[in-house]
Point group: C3
Chain length 373, copies 3
């Protein structure tokens, strides 16, 4: 059912979004294999023939939503899409999609390498770009300094938090939530850091240091983003059920804790957003991967979560298509869901517009302390 | 899509409901803070600004459904709603909402203090009110008597079950389902009771005594209600997955076991209702909190659960709005769902009416042994 | 909303299905009690009055979809349906329903006794029937031979895999997925087989031997089917969450692993189908039991799973109604879901037809190496 003109869809089309969790886009070196792999989130190998990422909801969504941004008809074939895209320079692709996203503020997790940095994102999009500190990357910098790990960690965090608007943890990928998440004693931390340094490894997997980082993030007081649910198969998805964070949340004080992605636990995450005054939720990443099913996902997060606790994000990384697609699918999916509420006389149009603005930018600006555009 | 006249909605509008799990409503002392806190189920602290309970599905649902019962337009603002409500005496509020609910029988869990008792509910609503014995409260009475705990427990249970129509356990809040749920030996029970008495605590958390109460409930043979899923954050929600009750249910004999609330495990609960002849399910409490999304929840419980195993409840506690809202949202949500089945030619209207009557009152009257109004 | 002519429904109506996981149908001896019990998947006891299988989604679906195949009006009463059905010979019932299913290839798990064998299915349906080897049954044959268990297992597997198109494991029913699923050492296997033989039991429950069978299935390289989720209450449903298979899948090489049924974990299974190039998924069995709600289930599996990784199955066993009903509900449910995508301009009709053909037969033919009809 197409949404009628004058509907909530029209209002949502113009909302300037705060994309509160995103990564950089590619700056070059794209080929079709790399592009198709970027459309598969779960698989850490090169995708094989049956994975066929263009034959998936996200693949269909790229053809549907991204093609027109490149001047192609909606639903163009994958081959035609690729041919057109490949003829453009990567920065040209990025400028078109970033601009079309209608995002006023990108809040960028810089923990993934090889992509555009926040200043480049800002230039290409004509919007503001802010940084989020990935705590596990900071830990790697801290251990490399030698001396007291705690002191080094705190010093780097102090320095970077002058400009950064929040922190981010990928504990979900480093053992999951079903273990100890209490704040370790500094002496345990120093001992663990010594072991890590002595082992000569760079990747942080030590639980004590992961817990330390998490609690330093809490202590900072700026929003602490947590990867939850959907990601690649390196994570044990069932160990990322956010309900496993209950004890952590019960002791998290007033620092905003931002549950990211959350699929397939978006209803559990919504519960936590109701149960804790400092918990917020989004369904970024999953929106892109669900494509035509994104409206249902957005509807499910609109169950228990209070409306001031829900945010928008794309979690885009790599192809700039994803930075745009997140916004396009979110606008369409939210409009579809809210129109159903209005049609059922459960909500008024005014209520719907207000909630869309809260989710689209109001909550993000308020929680991250951004000024409007 | 509004439901057309002559539709299943018309039939469901007139069904006299059995609300098979409910608490008392307030008798006075209401202020706006208390009211808003009562709209948040998960949070055990006072809600803060971002919780904004009026900016949630249940808040919107109060404005939509409850306002007309007070003579206000549907979708009135929260401030206007509150102003009107605050001008009425609490018993007047209660009389209006309880009467408007169209409930013939309230089955009342009296385990929560500070609210109207069953006789008061009966008077204010003009309907029957029955009692359910909360096993954990009974345990506290039993331990206070001194002497043999088992004998005291059995004596109180015998006395109260003369009039009570069932029992209720909140094991979900006292450790959850993922532990031993077998029937303990009487000597273990007496020993545990001694420890509890000696510790001078009033709140029952001892697993042995919780298990004992549960099995005394089973042995009584009257419907045994179990809190499942959605509740406040004192419970570990993931430990209330009803699938963790499989071993208990495999040994539960013929006593009806009523799985209450169940969100977000309503599909798992529906499976159990199919797998065990003595298991029943409802989605009370969650219906109120999902508001505009309640139809989808009701639809999900209509997946595996046989239609004679599903019941209606509000689980209302506190504001009498909730006693009415449960009924209003259930009527609307069930009608929406069944109308879709009819429109798809999957069900006939006659089937839909029959199933609505089973869920609305037929199953409740039969299982609890109530006579009709 | 009825689907309009010329729609995706018309295209799907004519698709010749590959039913990639099914059992035999009854050959006689049917009475109403046996029939009603066959409509309840979860309950292992005889169903009692409140189970009333005709008052369930699958019961309503039989009246809706199966009645016309017997020349009765859709939605006929249960009594009238039974009267007509009981007047026909079982093979006549089977011929009608098997023929009406529009299935070109049945891939038959012969592990359940007392039903028609593949050649009989082929004759009654006029279609091809292929066999899948149930690894736990093969284990029972192997242990009965005496001598080396490993040698006997491999010899039988070699013999049967000349014609069989795949293997099947019911590990879900024999302890579940939340334990060791690594490949055991042959000496452990022989020792475990000795213990099993000495114990004189026939039913395989030894974890070592279950793991051995699973890995022999993997080594064979033909599709390995795994029962996941929905089944009877002998299984601990929460131990069949397919996410518990992550470690197994990470080491499963290139052998196709087919996740069967999956309810209520169909979204988790869809994630695995994206995360692993060799993982495939279906929602058979659950489709029959969800009846009017089957479209929503089918829609949920169309979230993360790539479209070349989804297959059709009925998992029918017993009444031939179920062999037909799976197909009818799948056609209707998929058409309903895809029509919504088309109506929302998210997919084109051409895309929808192509995906329906992939799921209906293309993926099955390709993965199992079947030639077309």
């Amino acid at each position: 059912m197409a949404l009628s003109p004058g509907s909530i869809a029209d209002h949502i089309a113009d909302i300037p979004l705060v994309d509160h969790h995103v990564h950089g886009c590619w700056t070059g070196g794209t080929d079709r294999t790399r592009f198709e792999n970027a459309l598969n989130e779960g698989n850490t190998d090169l995708v094989e023939s049956d994975d066929a990422p263009f034959d998936s909801q996200i693949g269909f969504a790229v053809r549907r939503w991204c093609a027109p941004v490149l001047g192609l008809p909606a639903h163009v074939t994958a081959d035609d899409y690729w041919r057109c895209r490949a003829a453009l320079a990567e920065d040209e692709v990025a400028r078109r999609f970033l601009g079309a996203a209608g995002v006023s503020d990108w809040i960028v997790d810089t923990g993934l390498p090889g992509v555009a940095d926040p200043p480049t994102l800002a230039v290409w999009s004509g919007s503001a770009a802010h940084e989020v500190i990935r705590l596990e990357s900071l830990a790697e910098d801290a251990v490399a300094r030698g001396g007291s790990y705690v002191a080094a960690f705190d010093e780097i965090l102090d320095d970077r938090s002058v400009t950064a608007v929040g922190t981010k943890s990928i504990l979900a990928y480093r053992g999951g939530f079903d273990g100890d998440v209490t704040d370790p004693h500094p002496s345990e931390v120093e001992e663990a850091a010594r072991r890590w340094r002595d082992a000569g490894r760079s990747r942080l997997t030590d639980r004590t240091l992961l817990r330390f980082g998490l609690h330093r993030g809490l202590r900072l007081g700026k929003p602490l983003q947590l990867h939850v649910g959907l990601g690649d198969r390196d994570a044990d998805l069932h160990r990322t059920n956010p309900l496993l964070l209950l004890d952590f949340l019960r002791n998290s004080g007033a620092t905003p804790v931002m549950l990211l992605h959350c699929y397939p636990y978006e209803r559990e995450a919504g519960y936590l957003a109701q149960a804790f005054s400092n918990v917020y939720v989004d369904v970024g990443l999953a929106v892109n991967h669900l494509g035509a099913r994104a409206p249902e996902l957005i509807a499910r997060v609109l169950e228990l979560a209070p409306f001031r606790k829900i945010l928008y994000s794309s979690d885009a990384f790599g192809p700039a298509e994803l930075h745009y697609l997140g916004a396009a699918l979110w606008r369409h999916g939210l409009a579809t869901t809210l129109q159903r509420f209005i049609d059922a006389d459960a909500w008024t149009l005014d209520d719907a517009v207000r909630v869309a603005e809260l989710i689209g930018f109001g909550n993000g600006r308020r929680v991250y302390g951004l000024t409007g555009p």
